[in-house]
């Protein structure tokens, strides 16, 4: 469910790499070949991928929490089944991605440890609270919609395991996105009270969703390098603009208002131009001071600690079976 490419500090790529190997590597990427575990790759390529994939995995994992909190309060059985399935998918997506990061030499132990002790970053969006049931629809429509933009791009990335994880994830996220749309259309076209709920949810999730795409291109100096290596083939602003254009058209059709007084349609370019994003808020939330950062981390730690006895039981069972043979 995540996007949020955090800025990175790629210094001059692969300064120490063998120039012939680097040229061959880049030629492979230009030819559209996938790089697979075991193939030669610049240290910086590996490092950037581990950073991106592990952050992405953590985001999926933490992404279970905001929606998980509404499972017991789903208004009917169908909605409850859908929400449980969706939360379960997010857990699965985390697993696909941890696997992809492991193929680059990162260990599961290190990654989980970094998440639990607060060192690792994850998408800022999950530090916002879902306050009403309409938020369950709005998260599917906006947050999953934004994530799919990013993930569809990454499905074409040059690293085989990451691209394959993304193909699987995109197929599953499509269900998440559509169940959200279904709910929002119903509310937006429903009773005045339902419509007000949908509008209220849009007002609260619109700006944090736009922040998921990460800082403006002018503040993302690494995008050209990541593009050259076939990791990110579209920039943050390009993806954000695609999302904005599609989503605004849809919002207007169902009679919802985008909470942006500066929003205007630019005839010349055919794009919607949005007002100023509050980047101070973005950095505050990324750096640990969002509405729910502490709660999310505490919940993950509690889940990990509460699962201790299960891990111990499984280990004891495996040990016993082995000694029985």
């Amino acid at each position: 469910m995540c996007a949020n490419i955090l800025p990175t500090d790629i210094t001059l790529a692969s300064q120490n790499a063998d120039p012939a190997k680097l040229a061959a590597f880049e030629a492979r990427i230009t030819r559209g070949e996938k790089i697979e575990p075991g193939d030669w790759m610049p240290a910086e390529y590996r490092k950037q991928l581990v950073r991106m994939i592990s952050q992405h995995a953590h985001s999926e994992y933490v992404g279970m929490l905001p929606e998980g909190s509404w499972i017991t309060r789903a208004p009917n059985l169908r909605q409850k089944l859908v929400l449980i399935a969706k939360v379960q998918d997010e857990g699965g997506h985390g697993q696909y991605l941890y696997h992809a990061a492991e193929t680059l030499g990162a260990t599961r132990e290190e990654m989980i440890e970094a998440l639990l002790n607060g060192r690792a970053k994850y998408s800022s969006i999950f530090n916002y609270p879902p306050l009403t049931w309409a938020d369950m629809g709005m998260i599917g429509w906006l947050v999953d919609g934004a994530a799919i933009k990013n993930q569809t791009m990454l499905a074409h990335c040059s690293y085989g395991p990451y691209s394959r994880a993304m193909v699987r994830i995109c197929a599953e996220e499509s269900f998440h996105n559509k169940q959200g749309k279904e709910m929002i259309y119903r509310y937006a076209l429903g009773t005045p009270k339902q419509k007000a709920m949908a509008q209220d949810a849009l007002n609260r999730w619109w700006w944090p969703t736009l922040m998921m795409f990460g800082p403006h291109d002018s503040d993302s100096p690494n995008t050209p390098q990541l593009a050259r290596w076939g990791i990110k083939t579209k920039s943050n602003d390009e993806l954000r603009q695609e999302f904005v254009d599609e989503t605004i058209a849809e919002a207007h059709l169902v009679g919802l208002t985008i909470p942006d007084p500066d929003l205007r349609y630019d005839e010349a370019s055919g794009h919607w131009l949005i007002g100023k994003i509050d980047w101070d808020e973005f950095w505050r939330v990324v750096n640990g001071d969002g509405p729910c950062n502490k709660e999310r981390l505490a919940a993950r730690n509690k889940a990990h600690d509460d699962g201790q006895w299960v891990r111990e039981a499984l280990a004891a069972y495996a040990h016993k079976s082995k000694s029985a043979i």
Partner: protein, 178 residues
Amino acid sequence: MDTQWPRYEVFEKERPDWPHRNAGSVHAPDAEMALENARDVFVRRPHCLSLWVAPASEIFSMTAEQLAGFDWRSVPAGPDSEPYLVFQKQTQRAAETFVVHVGEVEARSHAEAMSHAVEKFGSGGVFVWWVCPARAVTRSEESDVSAMFAPSESKPYRQPHFYKVIAQLREIKSKASE
């Protein structure tokens, strides 16, 4: 720091006429639990007919690039010959497909199995090779199919086409333009 247990590679067979294909990996304390975890992680949706798991430590992997620089003279051989499963990545296109099961060879070591595999199955158009001793693979049983994989068939709400939102939006659009 908690240990996350050994990694098992997971192979999934989705259709009767398809081979087992690598889906990813899971961590588990033993092969039995690895199969259960693989079901939970990779079979939330139809269709799955069979799952295999194998400890990652038992799999010998080579990319085409590694194979090109490999010195076959240094291949060590064990005392006894045994069957190995051979897997190949055969295309750069289908992004979802990594290595698929193509057959078996007899060999006395992982490296020897690799050299036999390349001989037997040809190296043209192969991007990644995996070999794994057959004894290291744990397979779901025919009798497990209904318990392990059938539940995913009865959850149509996990499929995007369950939600008719595209048609709905089209209808809203045509009403708006009236």
